[in-house]
Symmetry: C2
């Protein structure tokens, strides 16, 4: 009788702990959340949903429709011209620098349209073209964007970042005051669409959306440099949800990058950085 | 005495389950692993280590060193020329297509060097330049790469992919036979360095390495198009570890993209796809 009771109690205890332990742990996690952020759950769910799929597929079909195949039309240059074109393209892009001091002078919208059209030629997984470029010219909206980003940046620097990261940034004299968000005549906010919708309204997975949109951003940076405009690459991921809501973008669009665009201010400076030589980035087999 | 024993047993059981349950669960996970892949643990550990940091930072300082700041030198074009340059750049890139039929004709290595130098001008988090471009010309190595990728692709199509994905691909007449991996004169495998090393040999976090390297790939695609070469964007992530080992790259380098590069074969076809119009990808505020 004595040992029977003990065994019974033991079994019951084991079961109770087994059942409640994981629930208890997820509860603890929730309690640790620093402040109420209504959008966080929704946004996190969207990206975790897609995580497994993104790691498993590896081919980029150009579309999911049964499109006709046509002969590819190609422009081929003589070898000497290829060498010249590629050298000149490198020299043009090698002059690009991240510029944080941007003049308030207006830029031609025709040029902004063209650089975004160029970015839109990027390849994308299953030809989903999962990007939205939000061009902000309105001074009030720019200022609200600045307020959201500076508030979040300050929290980052003061609370969330490890001491190492803060030290790294100090050395560069960067801080959380982002004047260029007010002065740049144009802010381009690039959103990745983590999924789309079928004709019947069902969710359609966007394979490799982050890589696709980052490639488009690379082309956008090249296009801006080619046009004689400057920018600085910023990725205010933590500000994504409030910025998305400010700009009225839907929940399946996540902010990937923010580029303030304009002419450099007269006194603009840049750190005197060198780039790695070819033999430090290329290996031939 | 009876209840004391029961309570004692209960407490001991609770403790035992509490301590062993998580260990037991990670054990189960290991057992589910389909085949022995010696590199998987190492590779997964590297990326999960960095996950939290990558989501928390949002500024791209250009370097961690206390470098001198110098006056930025800028080339400004008249507005009319900006419009012309940006229009021509768009038209050039709009002719780019993903080409899967690549001729075995050799391409000038000077041009390959230049397009990779152009890619190396991309911005990167904390100016880490976290990219390695492996240029494969050796036919045997190309063939081994093809074998690794086709084997993995076949598994993808047959086993791992959902029925929906296989159907999507069928419509495009794509399958896991990748002839271009043998015929293309050059394969460029782009690796992201998920961390680097300090002078004393400690791990140095590479913030935003995947976005940085994807931006570099966007510039690389533009540079190839500018030079009159073709490619197709592929991301054989599951083949990353065996390809990394084949090419002798260290564990902190992960394959992000593989680009077969060359001239199009004479009979090359492409799906007759359209790109979204500007008003479908751009919003002005």
């Amino acid at each position: 009788m004595l040992s029977l009771t003990a065994v019974l109690v033991a079994v019951v205890c084991v079961l109770i702990v087994w059942i409640f332990k994981p629930a208890d742990r997820s509860l603890q996690k929730k309690e640790r959340e620093p402040e109420a952020r209504p959008w966080v759950d929704e946004d996190l769910k969207d990206s975790t949903d897609l995580h497994q799929v993104q790691e498993d597929v590896d081919e980029w079909p150009e579309s999911e429709e049964d499109v006709e195949h046509i002969l590819f039309s190609h422009t081929r240059y003589p070898e000497k011209e290829m060498a010249k074109r590629s050298q000149e393209f490198y020299e043009l892009l090698n002059k690009r620098r991240s510029v944080r001091f941007i003049s308030n002078e207006q830029v031609p919208m025709e040029v902004i349209n063209n650089v975004i059209k160029a970015a839109g030629t990027a390849p994308s997984g299953a030809h989903t073209e999962p990007w939205t470029f939000v061009v902000v010219k309105d001074p009030d909206t720019k200022h609200k964007i600045r307020e959201i980003i500076e508030k979040e940046e300050e929290i980052n620097y003061m609370k969330r970042m490890g001491q190492r990261w803060v030290t790294d940034l100090k050395k560069l004299r960067t801080n959380w005051v982002k004047e260029y968000l007010d002065t740049a005549p144009v802010l381009i906010l690039i959103f990745k669409q983590v999924h789309g919708f079928t004709a019947s309204g069902k969710k359609k997975v966007h394979y490799y959306n982050e890589i696709s949109v980052s490639i488009a951003c690379g082309i956008l940076l090249a296009a801006l440099q080619n046009a004689g405009l400057v920018t600085v690459t910023t990725t205010p991921l933590n500000c994504g949800p409030p910025l998305r809501m400010l700009l009225g973008r839907p929940p399946h669009e996540k902010l990937l990058m923010l580029l303030p665009v304009g002419y450099p201010s007269k006194e603009a400076t840049v750190p005197d950085l060198k780039r790695k030589a070819l033999d430090q980035i290329m290996v031939t087999v």
